[in-house]
Symmetry: C2
Subunit: 309 residues, 2 copies
């Protein structure tokens, strides 16, 4: 039987699955840590070799990697949290080693492809996928095509100035959506407010996570509620901008922070409606939560591999 | 000889041209005022009838209109400055009357198509067109396709929050790019500063235009220079966001305000470089000024008509 091998390379784990020619049930699946004996590239190659099917042809290998990935030229420009991944000709490395077609892409784009083709986005032609967790990322489908840009660097949805001069972002800029609405930003805001003397159930917690914040908010902690409201309000503002620019029929929300539900979404939708320039943008517009969970990246990579081989 | 009829419908003038099957030299061209005897739709129909060629087949009629235009369904949702244009089934009206294929689009999108296919954007596959005049508008080409969105409402490039709570925009929202960087915004800023007591060569001018501002700046007027710097700085910030989202190979600038040259572009590029998250976005990126002038809309509409018939 012909197969595809899909990889989801993250800062902590490398996940891999072998898929049949058709269908989305993996024949086998494996997860190793990204850091360990050997470089991440060697570990990836060893994992592929380890999973290589005994029989049948591997039609293609697909790999999703974090950071700036030029999927057209097969290069990983930079991958945060993976030391040494700078301008790696990743597609060439895998092609040379395994002698089959290789496709690579940014992990958020792969998740977008997965959700569009096999998850919450099925049937839609124009959609935005936003994932809100440690950072804010995402991808865009336009007329059934993934938006990549000239060098595959498009849809850095979190690196978009929503408050000039605002909080520092992980990228070094200020006031980006990620710096105001990510889980990290929510936790940091609570910490800053506690330091400024605002009372909170979290004041004894030395390392607040966005899950801690959601739990405190559920118990009525006003600071935690305000922190989600702030994040949601900026998300609504940015989403209005994105609707003005992309006019999609669906917005998919993924990432751990969106599990906080109404805490985030009530202020988000209120802000969106305040910021939209015409109700036309909201006509028939659907909002869904991501359906594929942790498998979105693998299934998106599978989708890409199938589309291109 | 087979021909195409292209229309550029604006708030002041309706322009029309008959083009041959091939080439971009019009066989004839005409301009009437939008307002006058009869509705704008009647005036448009009369103009088409008036220009209808005596011989040969009209292969298609194309029309660009301002405002929110659903080019897929052929509807003008709203056209500012043209009274009564609300949810007009414009394509159907023209098809019924003239019995030939009709294509319609937003005027900024038509200009984007024109510049891409026949003007400054030739040879590029991913580009952003930004026009800065009374307002800020534009369009986006992605992999040789015009970005339209689900209902054709995409690429409202000026309605994008660059300063939350900032100056009022024509659309009723605050802090949009158009409210900070359009010609109107530049003039308004100068007027406000003069009222606040800032000295300027323009202090006796009761109705400052952006051209007046450029002339004063050329004479060394510090307030006028500062007004362009402010507009350029916000444009640079917004352009960084757009590069992060679209990763194009070309940015085309059009519109009267861009004629002010370095006054606008020096602060714009300085701001862009400050705001970009990675120099990768600037590798091979070109900047050009629009090449087709007032004909961009007509030539873009011609392009659309030729592409679809």
């Amino acid at each position: 039987m012909d197969t595809y091998i899909a990889l989801d390379i993250g800062g902590t784990y490398i996940r891999a699955a072998v898929y049949p020619h058709l269908g989305i049930q993996p024949i086998c699946q494996k997860k190793i840590t990204t850091h360990g004996k050997g470089s991440a590239i060697e570990r990836t190659c060893d994992l592929i070799a380890d999973m290589w099917p005994d029989a049948g042809k591997v039609k293609a290998i697909g790999a999703g990697a974090p950071g700036a990935v030029d999927s057209k030229n097969g290069i990983v420009y930079s991958a945060p949290n993976i030391p040494g991944w700078k301008n790696v000709p990743f597609r060439q490395v895998l092609t040379d080693r395994f002698q089959v077609p290789v496709v690579i892409g940014n992990d958020a784009n792969m998740a977008t492809l997965g959700e569009w083709k096999l998850g919450a986005g099925q049937g839609h032609h124009n959609l935005i996928y936003l994932t809100i967790s440690t950072g804010v990322g995402g991808g865009v489908i336009i007329e059934d095509h993934l938006l990549l840009g000239e060098h595959g660097l498009a849809t850095e949805m979190g690196h978009f100035t929503v408050l000039p001069g605002g909080p520092l972002c992980g990228c070094g800029q200020r006031g980006h959506l990620e710096a105001l609405s990510s889980g990290t930003a929510i936790a940091r805001y609570i910490q800053e407010q506690i330091q400024a003397g605002v009372p909170s159930l979290l004041s004894e917690n030395p390392s607040i996570s966005s899950r801690d914040a959601a739990e405190a908010a559920a118990k009525g902690d006003e600071l935690a509620v305000a922190a989600f409201a702030r994040a949601g309000t900026f998300l609504g503002q940015a989403l209005a901008d994105y609707l003005h620019v992309f006019n999609p029929s669906l917005v998919i929300f993924g990432g751990g922070v969106t599990l906080s539900g109404d805490l985030l979404f009530t202020p988000l939708h209120a802000s969106l409606e305040r910021h939209i320039i015409s109700p036309q943008y909201l006509v028939d517009l659907e909002f869904k939560t991501a359906a594929l969970g942790d498998d979105a990246g693998l299934l998106g990579t599978l989708t890409l591999a199938r589309m291109t081989s």
